[in-house]
């Protein structure tokens, strides 16, 4: 088994009375893709943002490469952390500064970190990054509005890669893109992962894409992880009724089966304080009370 790169223990992120994330624990292993799925408002994006220190967490502990993320840090430590962990955002229209060229956007990171000796090396670095995400060196001098949505997302990816991070949080990186462009970006992410040994936390609501890209999947609902397991297990042997309901709602490009498909409705059951995570199968966790999990598992 690969090394743990990230450990999340009992993470809580409350905004006033809203418990956006309410006590979740999971690990991410080096080189894997962990998919985080759930419907709007389930806390999946908040989880990603807490991990990358965009929020001060309410409670819990996040350890990255053996170090506590939210503990006191010197400037040097912070810089090192920022180098190792990067984020790709959902909206490629909102996440790129319209007043900066693609080259400036990509180079901002290594300008701050002083990762080149001279202008020539800086230019060379920008060019290599652009090429690695399927754009041309000449694109460096263009502004964001001169690019299509898919190309903008490639710039966002190049920016995330610029500091040579080991861990990337991708928050709905393809949901704003057209179907044919989604596939291009997903293929690019997978190819970069292979070449650079990247670890991804892939946050999305599109379950078929998450199944495709992830090694393991965590299903979130109302601030809790209700089920976590390998992508195969989650899709073929779901245990939690919410996971079953989610899976039954995905429409497939298959009209004959669609004509007879029945959605499994999910009735929310209040869980008391005695609910906890149960390992029903090695590496496959289900959240509920002892009695609930026993009942779900035998059905």
């Amino acid at each position: 088994m690969a090394e743990k790169i990230l450990e999340v223990k009992n993470l809580k992120q409350h905004f006033g009375s809203i418990k956006a994330v309410d006590g979740i624990s999971f690990d991410v292993y080096e080189g894997e893709t962990l998919g985080l799925v759930g419907e709007s408002g389930c806390g999946k994006s908040t989880t990603g943002r807490s991990i990358i220190r965009l929020y001060d967490i309410t409670d819990g502990e996040i350890t990255f490469q053996g170090k506590n993320i939210h503990g006191k840090k010197s400037k040097k430590e912070l810089k090192q952390f920022n180098k190792e962990m990067q984020m790709i955002f959902q909206d490629p229209y909102a996440s790129l500064n319209p007043r900066m060229t693609a080259g400036e956007i990509i180079a901002e990171g290594f300008d701050i970190h002083g990762m080149y000796k001279n202008k020539k090396e800086r230019k060379e670095k920008i060019g290599t990054l652009l090429e690695s995400v399927g754009l041309n060196r000449e694109h460096a001098n263009r502004y964001a509005h001169e690019f299509s949505g898919g190309q903008r997302q490639r710039i966002g990816i190049a920016r995330a890669l610029s500091l040579d991070p080991s861990f990337i949080i991708a928050d709905e990186p393809i949901s704003a893109l057209d179907v044919s462009i989604q596939a291009q970006v997903v293929n690019l992410l997978r190819q970069l992962q292979k070449e650079r040994g990247l670890t991804y936390l892939f946050i999305a609501h599109d379950l078929s894409m998450v199944k495709y890209i992830s090694d393991r999947i965590a299903v979130m609902r109302r601030g809790k992880i209700v089920e976590l397991g390998t992508a195969e297990d989650i899709y073929n042997y779901p245990v939690h009724p919410y996971t079953k309901s989610l899976l039954s709602a995905i429409p497939l490009p298959d009209p004959i089966s669609e004509a007879t498909r029945t959605r499994i409705p999910y009735e929310h059951e209040e869980v008391g304080d005695d609910a906890k995570s149960h390992e029903v199968f090695p590496g496959h966790f289900v959240f509920g009370t002892d009695a609930q999990v026993k009942e779900w598992y035998t059905h």
């Binding site: 057209d178 989610l246 999910y266």
Partner: protein
Amino acid sequence: MGETILEVNNLKINFKTYAGLVQAVRGVNFSLEKGKTLAIVGESGSGKSVTSNAIMKLIPQPPAIYAEGEILFNGKNLVTATEKEMTKIRGNDIAMIFQDPMTALNPTMRVGKQIMEVILKHNKKASKAEAKKRAIELLTEVGIPFPEQRFKQHPHEFSGGMRQRVVIAIALAAEPKILIADEPTTALDVTIQAQILELMKQIQRTSETSIIFITHDLGVVANVADTVAVMYAGQIVEYGTANEIFYNPKHPYTWGLLGSMPDLDNEADELLRTIPGSPPDLIHPPKGDAFAARNEFALAIDYEQEPPMFQVSETHFAKTWLLHPDAPHVPIPEAVRKRIEGYLEKNDEVGSELGKGGD
């Protein structure tokens, strides 16, 4: 063949912009039958929303120009209809559901009143009390619990899925013959999407409404459509029954769309098929086949001449030179073929388990 309620013939729509004339819709033909659903599928900029808005004449002129063609609703040409005539048709005969239910509703008005407004406007004889009764009935029909209490609430007190149900209730208020739904579930979560799709199908069964469903999601298309029109660069490039489009696609663009969608049985180590590049600029549409530059199977003629619609079956058409009798034989890409075979096999198994048997 059922009764045709709407027919669009050679519709061309241009937009005047500072950069030049954008040819957004470039000769679209389709027909809609009573009680059936036509899905128009395509990517952003393919002209699918312009086409549907054009039917309702909701695009401002200028900048839009109805350059050519006709839209026949029960034999009447809407392109030449006056604004007064259109006001009667909108809502009464043809109603629309939009993507974002928050912007479609008035945030300052109780939802009950918004539904009543439509009822009273379209049925001048109805009293206020009757309209209120009907509005509550509609809220019940679209599956909103506690309709009497909900009637008095404002849109912000509803969740996204419930809001979209209100929008549907408003669209149904005047008992339209055609419902145009422009990405009605795109902003919703999958479980809510499934509920809304079920609701629309149930409404169609009880009231024989015809539906034009605009979407980019092929899964949704397979779920709702009787007939499918695949649009690319302002044109319909493939047209057929849902079974024909999904099990026997002929156009390379349709292959590309089907291939770029991951499915749950995808092998994890295979890359998704992609359509390289991006759609053409419609100020200067390319010569020949608009898809040629992105088409790995493009022939020399694709860069010279625009292909006609070739007929595959009585109901199935595709606009690609690959269907010309002299064209080289290009089989459907392996990955797409395998997937279709997988679906059909699975359906056969299910079919025989149910005692129906496959065909």
